[in-house]
């Protein structure tokens, strides 16, 4: 789909058949029309060759219309099976960073407290979501569990909201989706922002680690994990080069997670537990019929 021209936060634009029209630049169009008409008349008068005149006139009055359309980003996953709930596991290497890509299919995301049971066959993918503080075991940043706020505050600007089963990844100081999550029995948590509207977001923590991100790539939701220890910056840059539009961090390193593939085979991503925290939380994708 063709994208409209960028607009700044301090501009308004009346939406007409020309999406690039700006309220404060209305004078441009009459000026352009006048200029084009003037140029046409000049060309017609200057050209003494009838054939050339006809050619020019045709060029002016019947221009070839070329519609530029930005190529749609092709989704990575396979969507042939619209019924079975499973996780598709892909691999790719971006900027020499090997990546694991997990795409849950036909499953509904939600948050849960406590470590998910690997025998729970209703779960097709899970990984840790929001950070918890080591000193008091509480969740860092705002957190909503099935409509119930368990934590408040803005320590990280990235957020994930799940409302009516739809997952949104974004970056904002204040998001109305927090309130909406509380009103609609939804879910909400905050994490480090990695990519905001295709732009890399720098983060304070230095050093290298296995990195994990919840990503929106052209509307396709996926979890992307580095196979090698990477800095925040390099991992975020790889996500951008991977055409991810928005991404937030997920508890990384060797944090616990698992998934079930198309053949119901259980694959444990990492088996490291951090028992003892009351608010240890996970994002899970579940089989719709078993919620």
């Amino acid at each position: 789909m063709r994208r409209s021209k960028d607009i700044k936060d301090d501009e308004i634009r009346i939406i007409t058949a020309s999406p690039t029209k700006k309220h404060n630049r209305l004078w441009i169009w009459p000026a352009l029309i006048t200029a084009v008409a003037g140029a046409s008349i000049c060309m017609l008068m200057l050209s003494r060759d009838k054939g050339v005149v006809e050619e020019r006139a045709e060029m002016v009055f019947e221009p070839e219309v070329t519609i530029e359309s930005a190529p749609e980003l092709k989704w990575l996953g396979s969507y042939a099976d619209t019924v079975k709930s499973y996780t598709e596991h892909l691999r790719d290497t971006i900027n020499d960073i090997p990546l694991d890509i997990y795409i849950p299919h036909n499953a509904i995301p939600e948050l849960m407290l406590g470590v998910p049971d690997i025998h729970d066959k209703s779960i097709v993918f899970t990984t840790q979501a929001a950070d918890i503080r080591a000193d008091n075991g509480k969740i860092v940043g705002a957190f909503v569990l099935k409509g119930k706020p368990l934590s408040w505050g803005l320590s990280k600007k990235g957020y994930c909201a799940i409302i009516d089963g739809k997952l949104t990844v974004g970056v904002a100081d204040n998001s109305p989706l927090f309130e909406e999550a509380t009103e609609k029995e939804g879910y909400f948590f905050r994490q480090y922002p990695l990519v905001a509207q295709n732009i890399l977001v720098e983060n304070e923590p230095k050093g290298k680690s296995i990195r994990k991100a919840l990503c929106d790539r052209g509307g396709e939701i996926m979890v992307v994990m580095s196979q090698t220890p990477e800095s925040f910056h390099d991992f975020s840059q790889a996500l951008i080069d991977f055409k991810v539009n928005n991404a937030i961090y997920l508890v990384g390193s060797s944090s616990f997670g698992y998934f079930r593939d198309y053949y119901d085979q259980l694959e444990i991503i990492y088996n490291k537990f951090r028992y003892g925290y009351q608010y240890e939380n996970f994002i899970v994708w579940k089989v719709p019929s078993q919620i």
């Binding site: 308004i12 939406i15 058949a17 949104t168 509307g219 539009n245």
Partner: protein, 121 residues
């Protein structure tokens, strides 16, 4: 003359009568379509894409809609109150549907000028 806006992407389709569409706000890579019944529908489409749809489907009828900054498309028929100092924009049908939005001062100044200019015509 078109009477509805149809937003269709992937497995979703939303069809909204123009008179019911109050505003659309950006939410990350998504857009929230808000109608007079205060229902909010989250669509997996960026606000710029919704703007393009409006211009393509509605043509000159789309001119009742204004893109206000990066985060909003509003139906100008429902502009009810502007307070530049408080950065408040209220959209209302004065029949029970009222939405208080926040916008930048520059946007509100331009919106106010726009509404005033339509009165003077």
């Amino acid at each position: 003359m078109p009477t509805h806006l149809v937003i269709s992407k992937g497995t979703e389709l939303l069809r909204v009568p123009l008179v019911s569409l109050m505003y659309v706000s950006a939410e990350g890579n998504y857009s929230v379509v808000v109608t007079r019944d205060s229902h909010r529908t989250l669509m997996s489409m960026q606000l710029g894409q919704i703007e393009t749809l409006i211009s393509e489907q509605l043509g000159s009828s789309g001119s009742i809609f204004i893109r206000a900054g990066r985060g909003l498309i509003i139906n100008t028929d429902y502009i009810n109150y502007i307070d530049i100092s408080q950065q408040v924009l209220v959209l209302s049908d004065c029949e029970g549907s009222r939405h208080e939005l926040t916008a930048s001062r520059e946007v509100l100044i331009k919106l106010k000028e726009y509404v005033e200019s339509t009165v003077k015509k």
